[in-house]
């Protein structure tokens, strides 16, 4: 589904990613872990097409196409979803209105008829039920005045509605208390299907107690320095990132 080869990227002339290689297949869950400043969020933003990041070398193939040639909106319509670390507030636009616009953009792209407000509200109710969420946020402006937990939950609602093929969750666990974490992680787990894939970008191991990864990668200084199974996350938790740095140096 996703194949990253020797990816280099920089922001404002500073190189952040220094040769990432990663393959994600349908049905898999990958965790990308690493200390602050290792390039985790940059990788997520580059995959979503943030214009501030310049790709200086390497390639990314998504569903057989050159991802880097695609505009951010096309990546989204083709099923790539980034749950933002810092979701953005949109003045005056309700969540329901925004979600319908986003879903219709994707449906139009796929040649499906657009949903009118009533059809959309039915679909939204169904999606909310599927992830065990209520509709209390839906008539409020997007992320405007939301608590940290509400913002993260809102990203997952968007994910549920847009049904991505590849979801990248950027620090979705950060700032959540244990109950909120369980809710968010449970929703993500329920959205897993054999034909989609999830990449969880995180500093901490704890979200992986709820979503079991197939592969764990450790990012340090812009490169994946270690890859392994789910047990790697636990090892990291007990030994810390310094251990990885030492291992990588060997």
């Amino acid at each position: 589904m996703l194949e990253i080869k020797n990816l280099h990227a920089s922001v404002e002339g500073k190189e952040i990613l220094r040769g990432i290689d990663l393959v994600v297949r349908a049905g898999e869950v990958h965790a990308i872990m690493g200390p602050n400043g290792s390039g985790k969020s940059t990788l997520a933003q580059v995959l979503a097409g943030h214009p501030a990041y310049a790709v200086t070398a390497g390639s990314v193939t998504y569903l057989g196409r050159d991802l880097l040639e695609m505009d951010p909106e096309e990546r989204s319509r083709e099923g790539l979803f980034l749950a933002f670390q810092y979701p953005v507030a949109i003045r005056g636009i309700t969540n329901a209105y925004f979600l319908r616009a986003a879903l219709n953009a994707a449906r139009k792209h796929r040649g499906q008829p657009e949903l009118d407000p009533l059809e959309f509200m039915d679909l939204l109710a169904e999606k909310l039920r599927a992830i065990d969420s209520d509709d209390s946020l839906m008539q409020r402006p997007v992320n405007d005045g939301f608590s940290g937990g509400e913002k993260k939950r809102n990203e997952i609602v968007q994910m549920a509605v847009l049904e991505p093929r590849l979801a990248i969750l950027d620090e979705t666990d950060s700032g959540l208390d244990i109950d909120a974490l369980r809710t968010v992680a449970g929703a993500v787990d329920r959205l897993r299907r054999p034909d989609n894939a999830t990449v969880i970008v995180t500093h901490y191991q704890r979200i992986l107690n709820y979503i079991t990864p197939d592969h764990v990668h450790v990012l340090s200084e812009g490169k994946i320095v270690l890859s392994g199974g789910k047990e790697l996350a636990l090892e990291l938790e007990s030994k810390g990132y310094d251990w990885v740095r030492a291992e990588a140096a060997v």
């Binding site: 319509r77 953005v88 949109i90 986003a102 953009a105």
Partner: protein, 451 residues
């Protein structure tokens, strides 16, 4: 527009003195003595003040030279337009009554007075002055001060007609009362001075729509004053869509006076006119009163809109929430001056003010000035203003959800309007205004050459 105006004092006002003399000799003759006195005093004040210039602080950003220099005439009395032409200018919402005024005068044939419930009176001010002047004497021209406001003084000198709304104690009316002030511009520039009074008695609840629009394009000047009195425990929602013609000058004062525990929600929304100047004075004159002053201006071409607001916390335990948003395209220019006064003894005042401007073009401009004058010590007052183009983070967020850049820009722009319109309580009026905002942001007319 000249920034420096060299003008002999009084020269621009002479025309209006002559119009007043004709008015006093004819149409105003039958008025009660108290009103004649008010009119004469107001005219005298107008001639003393003259038209303001940009050297005066309150007019720094807004030149009214085009108004002072245009020879506006009194409009000829005309039979009025057809109902067919008026219909699209009404706000499309089920209304308790629809009162239509043409060039400042009530038009019975164009109005539908409706079957108003007992205790609700809505009609022509001129008719009320004829039949029951005692109903008006306590309020008309008693609230909106004109000593420092030449346009208010001029309107007061020409008080003749406009809307008079009176809602008796405890009446609760869901359907809005709709007032439509139309101009019918002719070959020569004309001026009208609509004067309205809205009185909501104790415990009553009502919504009023006060619209301004035109039957044709043309150069004209609307010089309006509306006084609003909301008694103890009463609720008023006042929605004011201004959709004047693109060549129009719109100058207005709205003065609201609130009693204890009353609630006023006032939504002035500017779509039209080449030049708009709206002075809003809101006096919270009873403990526990609440004001929501929630305005929007959508400007393009060379449209200019200036809002000067004064929220006067005269008594303790009052709340005011002031929100003004502007969307400025082309060479549009928005001016916002928001003064909050907290009088001595007005303890536990809770006042919040925001002014957000979306500047879509390099030639557009916004000026925002908060002015806080606080003479009590136990108060909570916050204010904030922003201006700038669309936010890159917001644009990327929307694109990452599948919207193309054009859709993302349109959605973010609409959000500035939707945030304001979303605060309307009356659902029918809110939906209608939402449609007007969308149409305005989509219409090519919004970016047509103006002035």
């Amino acid at each position: 527009m000249a920034t420096r105006q060299v003008r002999r004092p009084g020269s621009a006002t002479e025309r209006y003195v002559a119009q007043f003399d004709a008015f006093a000799a004819d149409g105003a003759r039958g008025a009660p003595a108290w009103l004649k006195e008010i009119r004469s005093a107001a005219l005298a004040r107008f001639t003393e003040l003259g038209f303001p210039t940009t050297h005066q602080e309150a007019w720094r950003f807004t030149s009214v030279a085009p108004i002072a220099e245009t020879p506006f005439a009194v409009p000829a009395r005309r039979a009025g337009a057809s109902a067919r032409r008026v219909a699209p200018l009404l706000v499309p919402v089920e209304s308790a009554c629809r009162l239509v005024f043409v060039n400042g005068r009530y038009s019975a044939p164009l109005s539908s007075a409706g079957d108003l419930p007992r205790g609700v009176r809505a009609g022509s001010l001129a008719a009320a002055l004829d039949s029951e002047p005692q109903l008006l004497e306590g309020h008309l021209a008693r609230h909106a001060a004109y000593a420092a406001n030449p346009f208010g003084a001029l309107n007061t000198a020409f008080i003749r007609d406009g809307a008079f709304v009176h809602v008796a104690e405890q009446v609760d009316l869901d359907a809005p009362l709709q007032l439509l002030f139309l101009s019918a511009p002719g070959a020569r520039p004309t001026v009208s001075h609509p004067r309205s009074l809205v009185v909501v008695e104790r415990g009553a609840r009502v919504s009023v729509i006060e619209s301004y629009a035109a039957l044709d394009e043309g150069i004209y000047w609307t010089n309006a004053v509306t006084e609003v009195v909301v008694a103890e425990g009463a609720h008023l929602e006042l929605v004011r869509p201004q959709r004047e013609a693109t060549g129009a000058f719109h100058v207005a004062t709205t003065h609201t006076l609130q009693g204890p525990d009353s609630v006023v929600r006032f939504h002035p929304i500017v779509f039209g006119a080449a030049l708009t100047r709206h002075d809003i004075v809101s006096v919270l004159d009873g403990r526990g009163a609440e004001l929501v002053l929630n305005g929007l201006y959508l400007l393009a071409g060379t449209q200019h809109a200036d809002h000067h607001t004064v929220i006067d916390h005269a008594k303790p335990d009052c709340q005011s929430h002031e929100f003004f948003n502007g969307v400025l395209d082309d060479a549009g220019r928005g001016v916002f001056n928001g003064r909050i006064v907290v009088r001595p003894g007005a303890q536990r005042t809770d006042s919040k003010q925001t002014n957000h401007n979306l500047v879509l073009s390099e030639r557009a401009r916004a000026d925002s000035q908060p002015q806080l004058e606080i003479y009590a010590d136990d108060v909570k007052c916050t204010h904030g203003a922003t201006l700038g183009p669309l936010d890159a983070k917001e644009l990327f967020y929307l694109r990452s959800r599948g919207l193309d850049p054009g859709q993302a820009r349109a959605l973010l722009t609409y959000g500035f309007g939707a945030e304001i319109v979303g605060r309307l309580r009356h659902a029918g009026v809110r939906d209608a205004l939402d449609r007007l905002v969308r149409d305005a942001l989509e219409a090519p007319m919004h970016r047509g050459a103006l002035l």
